[in-house]
C-alpha cells in the first residue's frame, strides 16, 4: 500500500484525518499516486493539480524521504521507500505566515 499524507484543509474536505492508504499499480509514480488519490476521493480533483493540465497547483509541494519531489517528472518512479510503503508521500500546502 502507498501511504499518502495530505494537508489539513484537504483532510477536512475528505473527512479523513489520518494517513491515506492507496493501492497503486506499477509503476508507482507521482502521477499514478495522484490518480489513485483522486479516484478514491473525487472531491480532491483540482485541489492538488489542475484538472485540465494536471499541473501541480502553485502552492502545493510534494515531499518524500526528506526530499522535495515537486519538480520531478510526474511520470518518474517514486523512491523505493514510498513504493514499499515504508515512507509516506506528502502533499504539502506551501507555508504562509502572518
Amino acid at each position: 500500500m502507498i501511504r499518502v499524507v495530505v494537508p489539513a484543509h484537504l483532510k477536512t474536505l475528505i473527512d479523513h484525518h489520518g494517513e491515506i492508504h492507496l493501492k497503486v499499480g506499477d509503476p508507482v509514480t507521482q502521477a499514478a499516486v495522484l490518480d489513485a488519490l483522486e479516484r478514491e476521493y473525487p472531491v480532491l480533483r483540482g485541489t492538488i493539480r489542475d484538472t485540465q493540465t494536471l499541473q501541480r497547483r502553485p502552492f502545493i509541494r510534494f515531499f518524500a524521504c526528506e526530499e522535495d519531489l515537486s519538480h520531478e517528472d510526474p511520470g518518474a518512479v517514486l523512491p523505493a521507500a514510498v513504493v514499499e510503503g515504508r515512507e509516506p508521500f506528502f502533499v504539502v500546502g506551501a507555508m504562509a505566515g502572518g
Binding site: 494537508p7 484543509h9 477536512t12 483540482g46 485541489t47 497547483r57 502552492f59 502545493i60
Partner: protein, 371 residues
C-alpha cells in the same frame, strides 16, 4: 414561529446564525469548512433549505458546496468554471493584454423562481450559470464578449464580478457589477449586455466619465421597484430610476461617500443603508465610529445610526457583500466586519447588537427569512 437564518462567509469558514422572530437570542453553528475562505453563502428564495457556498483557498482552488437541508449537511458540487471558447485577454495592471484566468467565485445568486438555477460571479470577471443545482456551470459569455471586455482592468482587489441582481419583474433582466469595469445589464437572460454607467464619475481613471472602468462596489434594489437601483461606488453613492440607464449622485450629507456595502429596507423602497468608510487608503470608519447611515428619502439626506455600535476606537471595514436585510414585519438589518463582528438590528437600524464578536474577518452576510 417565524425566524431568520444568517449565513456568514469568513476568511476561515462559514457560520450559520439562527434566531426566532424576536432576533434577540442566537444559535451559532460553525466554523463550517474551517480553514477555507468562504466568499459567499446564499440560500434559494424558492427552497430555503437549499444553500450554496463558495469555498476556496489560494492553495487548493475553488469548490462549490450545496446543502439541501438548511445547512445541516453539505456536499461538493461542480467546480469547473471554464470560460466559453477562446477566453482572450483583458488589460493587466501594466496595461498589457493578460489572458482571462479563473481565480475564484465571489458571489452566488440563486434563482428567484427555480431552485436548480444559480448564477455565479467569478474572478477574472465573468458570469456563469448552472441549471442543475450547481453540478455543472456554463458561461454567459455575452458579457465578456459584448465589446468592452478586452479593455477591462483589475482593481487592487482583483477583477471580480461581485454583484448579481435578477429583476423580480423580468427574469431576463440581470444587473451585474464588476471591479473595476462598472455595471452592466442584460435584458435577454444573458445573451447580450451593455454597460450602464452613464452619470458615474471616477477620478481614478483617465476619462472620469468613461463608459467602462468605474469601480462599482455594490448594487441594490427593492423588489417592488426593480428599475430603481442604488450603487455604492469606490467613491460616491449613486441612484438610477431607469434600470441603470442614467445615474445621479445621492451621497448628500454622508461623512464619507466611500464604502462597500449598500442595501434597501425590505418594506420601504426609499429607505437605504450604507456604512461610510473613510477612504480608499484608510479602510475604516471616519473618526473610529462605526455608523450605519440610513436615508429614508432614497438618498441625499442621511442619518447616522449608532445605538449599540462602537463609537470610539473602531477601525474595521464592512465589505461589499457583508450587509443584508430580512423581511420580517419589523425589518432586520445585518452586517459583518473585518474584525469578525456580525451586528443585527431588529428595528430597521434604530438599534444594534452584536450576534457574534470574534469570528474571522467577515466576507459576506446573507439572511433567510423563515416561515
Amino acid at each position: 414561529m417565524s425566524g431568520v437564518r444568517v449565513l456568514v462567509g469568513t476568511r476561515k469558514g462559514a457560520f450559520i446564525l439562527t434566531s426566532d422572530g424576536k432576533r434577540d437570542k442566537w444559535d451559532v453553528v460553525g466554523p463550517i469548512f474551517g480553514g477555507w475562505e468562504i466568499f459567499h453563502v446564499k440560500g434559494s428564495p424558492v427552497d430555503p433549505n437549499r444553500i450554496f457556498a463558495s469555498q476556496s483557498t489560494s492553495w487548493f482552488g475553488q469548490l462549490i458546496q450545496r446543502s439541501d437541508d438548511g445547512g445541516k449537511s453539505w456536499a461538493p458540487v461542480g467546480k469547473e468554471f471554464v470560460y466559453d471558447g477562446t477566453p482572450g485577454t483583458h488589460q493587466w495592471y501594466d496595461g498589457t493584454p493578460h489572458p482571462w484566468e479563473f481565480a475564484r467565485v465571489w458571489h452566488l445568486e440563486p434563482s428567484l423562481s427555480d431552485p436548480d438555477v444559480v448564477l455565479a460571479g467569478v474572478e477574472d470577471a465573468a458570469l456563469f450559470r448552472s441549471s442543475d443545482a450547481g453540478e455543472s456551470w456554463s458561461e454567459l459569455s455575452g458579457l465578456r464578449g459584448h465589446g468592452s471586455g478586452p479593455s477591462w482592468q483589475p482593481g487592487a482587489g482583483g477583477m471580480c464580478l461581485h454583484t448579481i441582481l435578477v429583476s423580480p419583474a423580468d427574469p431576463g433582466r440581470i444587473f451585474v457589477a464588476i471591479s473595476s469595469a462598472g455595471a452592466f445589464r442584460t435584458d435577454d437572460g444573458g445573451a447580450t449586455w451593455r454597460p450602464i454607467n452613464k452619470g458615474l464619475h471616477s477620478e481614478g481613471i483617465p476619462d472620469g466619465d468613461a463608459e467602462v472602468g468605474h469601480c462599482v462596489h455594490r448594487l441594490a434594489l427593492h423588489p417592488s421597484r426593480p428599475d430603481v437601483l442604488f450603487m455604492q461606488k469606490h467613491w460616491d453613492v449613486m441612484r438610477s430610476d431607469d434600470a441603470g440607464d442614467n445615474w445621479v449622485e445621492v451621497s448628500g450629507n454622508l461623512p464619507s461617500d466611500f464604502g462597500f456595502c449598500i442595501d434597501v429596507h425590505a418594506h420601504e423602497p426609499e429607505t437605504v443603508f450604507v456604512v461610510p468608510i473613510l477612504s480608499d487608503s484608510e479602510h475604516y470608519p471616519p473618526e473610529g465610529k462605526l455608523r450605519v447611515y440610513r436615508s429614508k428619502t432614497g438618498g441625499n439626506e442621511w442619518e447616522p445610526l449608532t445605538k449599540g455600535l462602537p463609537q470610539k476606537d473602531c477601525y474595521v471595514d464592512v465589505l461589499r457583500d457583508a450587509m443584508a436585510v430580512d423581511s420580517l414585519d419589523s425589518c432586520g438589518v445585518y452586517f459583518g466586519t473585518t474584525g469578525g463582528q456580525v451586528y443585527a438590528s431588529a428595528d430597521s437600524g434604530d438599534s444594534w447588537a452584536p450576534i457574534v464578536s470574534n469570528l474571522p474577518a467577515v466576507l459576506s452576510v446573507e439572511v433567510q427569512t423563515l416561515a
